[in-house]
Point group: C2
Chain length 92, copies 2
């Protein structure tokens, strides 16, 4: 892929991220990736569902991938915590 | 599919669901579906990642699907709330 339009999901309201996705598509993007990890994952799926059901019915889910990131916590020295990740690619 | 081994993710500790998946595979299942909705979705991904990375390296993610369920809330009469869902199918 040459283009790389990614929306990183954090703790803001779902509609903020929905708007970010729609803006990418309206500016001509063919694909938008929604990325999240940990507890934000359920919000990432909300965003994908709202975008394609309420705003852009021609947008399809191209792929969904899950994975694990290792976080090195600063509190407990050298212990590592695993956090799950998701990447949903929407395409029109 | 004739077989239908589903693990429904709720609010219990992640390892309970991991154990349920492993039990299905050890009893000869070729496929196990992990289903969750709403805030349990991130736990569903944790379960899938722990099963395949820590316990059963020969298990692969066959498919991931997302969707929306409509909940009719009893509190506010006839208003409907949408909740996102995920189904992760693991196969060996």
């Amino acid at each position: 892929m040459t283009e790389n339009n990614a929306v990183l999901i954090g703790k803001k309201p779902t509609m903020n991220y929905v708007l970010a996705c729609i803006t990418f598509f309206h500016s001509g993007a063919k694909e938008v990736s929604i990325k999240a990890r940990g507890r934000s994952i359920s919000r990432a799926i909300d965003v994908a569902e709202v975008v394609r059901h309420r705003f852009l019915p021609d947008v399809k889910i191209k792929s969904i991938g899950i994975g694990t990131d290792q976080l090195l916590s600063q509190e407990e020295g050298n212990s590592a915590t695993n956090v799950s990740t998701i990447e949903i690619t929407l395409a029109r």
